[in-house]
Amino acid sequence: MKKINIWAWIILFIGMIYFFLPLISTLEFSMKMIKDRYTFEAFRVAFTDRVFFERFGYSVLWALLTITLSTLLVVPTAYWVHWKLPKARPFVEFVTLMPFVVPAVVLTFGFIRLYARPPFFLNDRPILLIAGYIILSLPYMFRAVDTGLRAIDVRTLTEAALSLGAGWGTILTQVIFPNLRVAILSGVFLTFAIVMGEFTFASLLAKPAFGPYMEEIGSMRAYTPQALSLVSFLLTWASIGLLQWIGRGRVQEQVAGAH
C-alpha cells in the first residue's frame, strides 16, 4: 500500500509540473519587460490599450449572444428528442459533432460562399459569426444538456406536469430548465471559453474579436501577448471555477426508514 501511495504522489507531481511549468515560464517571461527587474509592466501596457477592451468587449457580447441562442436551440431540441423522438438521438448527436468533423476553416468558407452572395449578403453582419460560434458550441451544449436530461425522468415529469394542466411553455421554463440548470451551465461556460479564444471564424470573417487581437499583438510585441494569454487562461479558469461553485451538488440525503 505504502509503495503505491508514493508512486501516486510522484505521478501527480510530474503531472503538475507538466501542467504548471509552461504557465510559470510564461508568467516569468511576461514580467521581464523591463530589463533586470520583475514588474507587471506588460500587464499594465496590455490593460491600458483601448483596443484590448474594445475587442474583449465584442467577444464577450458575441459569446453571450451565442450562449443565449445556442441554449434556446439546444435545450428544446434535446428535450423533444428525449420525450418524443428517442430514435432520432444518434442522428442529432451526429449533427452536433459537425465542428469536430468539418474543420472551422472549411465551415467558414462554406459560410462565405453561401451567405456572402445574393440573396443573403450576410458577411458584414455578426450573425454569421454567431452562427458559426453556435455550431462550435453544439457538441458541448448538446452533450451537457443530453446528460442532464438523462439524469431526470423527462417523460414522467412531463406527463406529471401535463396532467396538472401545464402547457409546453410552462413545462420547459418551470420543470425542464430548472432541473437542467447545472447541465446547461456547464455547456454555457465551455461555450464562453471557446468563443473568447476563437480565432479562425473571427479572423476569416474579419470581425474585431479577442482571438485575432491576441494574434495581432503576438506578431507585433514580445511581452504583452504573454500577459494576455495568461489573462485569458485565468478567465477560463474563473469560468470553470464559477461552474463548480454554482453546480456544487446538493447533499442527497434520503431519510431512510422514516416513511
Binding site: A161, S163, L164, G165, N179
Partner: protein, 353 residues
C-alpha cells in the same frame, strides 16, 4: 349513464394490438383496478384515459363529455406515477401548488389548498422539504396530494406502490383507499399485484394480452373465476385436466380419481375434457364430518409460511397445494405419510377455457 365510459377502445402500436375492444363503465366514486401481468395493456388503457396515448378506435366519455381527442393538459384527471415524478426543483408545497398556480388561483387559495392537502396526507410539517429529503413512501404521498390538489374528476394511479417496500405498501394502500373514500373520487388503479387489487377495489378488471378477461368485485374474481387465466393469475390455484363422467350429478374424473363439483355441467357430455381447479385453502384433512369429496393422498412436501402452512399432497398422479392455518397445537403430518383430504363440491370449479 356511468360517470366514466370507456367504449370499444383499442390501441395499436404498429402491428401489435396493445389493447383490444376495451369496454368499461365506471360509476362516480368507484375505485376500479386493472389487474394483469406486464404487457397486458392495463397501463396503456390508463394512459388513454389520461390523454397520454390516443386510442386507435373507440371513445372515452367522462361526465357526459367525449374526451377522446382532448389533450392531456385539458382533462380533469389527476395522475400518480410509479416513480413518484415529483418535480425535484420544487419543495413539497411547490409540488402540491403547481397545478393550482397554473390554474391561476390566488396565492391565498393556493396556500389554503396546499395546507389542506398536507393535512390530508398527514405531512403538515414537510411543506418546505425537497423531494430528495423524503423517503419513497413520503414522496408518493406528496404525489397523491399533488394529483388531488386540483380536485380532479378522476384519479389515475399507475402502479403507485410498486417501488416501495412491503410494509409501506400495505399501510399506504390503506391510506390511498381511505383518502379516495373520504373524497368520494372516482379512481382507476393499475397494478400487477393481485393482493393489492383485491384489497383496494370496488371492482377489478383482470386483463391479459390486451383483452379484458373478467370484470367483477374482488369476491367474484377470487371465488368465481370465469376463465382459466383469471383462475390461475388471481390467487394460487390447483388446476388439472379432467373428464366429465356424469354431467347430471356433477361427476368428473381426474386420472381415475372422481370429484363431485357443484358447477353446472349442463351442455357437456360424458367424456368431454374440462379443466378443474381447487383453491389450496379449500382442502382440509379428513375428519369425522362428511364431505362431498374424500380423497386418498400422499404427503409430498410441507412448507411453513408463518400464518399458513402449505402442504403438497399427491392425489392420484397430480400434486395439489393445500393451505391450512398454522396451529401450534396440531400435529402436522410427515412427508411420505398417507392420509385423506376432503373438499366440498362447491370448491371444485370447472372452468371454461
Amino acid at each position: 349513464m356511468a360517470f366514466l365510459e370507456i367504449n370499444n377502445v383499442s390501441k395499436k402500436f404498429g402491428a401489435t394490438e396493445a389493447v383490444s375492444d376495451f369496454n368499461l363503465q365506471i360509476e362516480k366514486g368507484e375505485l376500479v383496478s386493472f389487474l394483469g401481468p406486464s404487457g397486458c395493456g392495463k397501463t396503456t388503457t390508463l394512459r388513454m384515459v389520461a390523454g397520454f396515448e390516443m386510442p386507435t378506435d373507440g371513445r372515452i366519455v367522462m361526465d357526459g363529455k367525449d374526451i377522446t381527442d382532448m389533450p392531456a393538459n385539458q382533462r380533469d384527471v389527476g395522475m400518480v406515477f410509479q416513480s413518484y415524478a415529483l418535480f425535484p426543483n420544487m419543495t413539497v408545497a411547490g409540488n402540491i401548488g403547481f397545478g393550482l398556480k397554473i390554474m391561476k388561483k390566488s396565492a391565498e387559495e393556493t396556500n389554503q389548498r396546499t395546507k389542506e392537502m398536507l393535512d390530508l396526507i398527514n405531512m403538515p410539517e414537510y411543506a418546505h422539504r425537497y423531494p430528495y429529503q423524503l423517503s419513497g413512501g413520503q414522496q408518493q404521498r406528496v404525489a397523491l396530494a399533488r394529483a388531488l390538489a386540483l380536485r380532479p374528476d378522476v384519479l389515475l394511479l399507475d402502479e403507485p406502490l410498486s417501488a416501495l417496500d412491503a410494509k409501506i405498501r400495505v399501510s399506504l394502500r390503506a391510506e390511498i383507499r381511505d383518502i379516495q373514500r373520504k373524497l368520494g373520487i372516482t379512481a382507476i388503479y393499475v397494478t400487477h399485484d393481485q393482493e393489492e387489487a383485491l384489497s383496494l377495489s370496488d371492482r377489478v378488471v383482470v386483463m391479459n394480452a390486451g383483452k379484458m378477461e373478467q370484470v367483477g368485485t374482488p369476491f367474484q374474481i377470487y371465488n368465481f373465476p370465469e376463465t382459466n387465466f383469471v383462475a390461475s393469475f388471481v390467487g394460487t390455484l390447483n388446476t388439472a385436466e379432467a373428464e366429465v363422467v356424469d354431467p347430471a350429478r356433477g361427476l368428473i374424473s381426474m386420472d381415475g380419481v372422481q370429484f363431485v363439483s357443484a358447477d353446472d355441467l349442463n351442455g357437456r357430455k360424458k367424456g368431454d375434457k374440462v379443466r378443474m381447479s381447487v383453491r389450496p385453502e379449500r382442502f382440509n384433512f379428513a375428519d369425522d364430518q362428511k364431505k362431498d369429496n374424500l380423497l386418498d393422498c400422499t404427503i409430498e412436501n410441507i412448507t411453513f409460511l408463518g400464518s399458513v402452512v402449505r402442504i403438497q399432497v399427491k392425489i392420484g398422479k397430480t400434486v395439489f397445494n393445500m393451505d391450512t392455518f398454522n396451529n401450534p397445537f396440531l400435529e402436522l403430518p410427515k412427508i411420505g405419510d398417507n392420509g385423506q383430504v376432503t373438499c366440498s363440491k362447491e370448491a371444485v370449479l370447472v372452468i371454461s377455457h
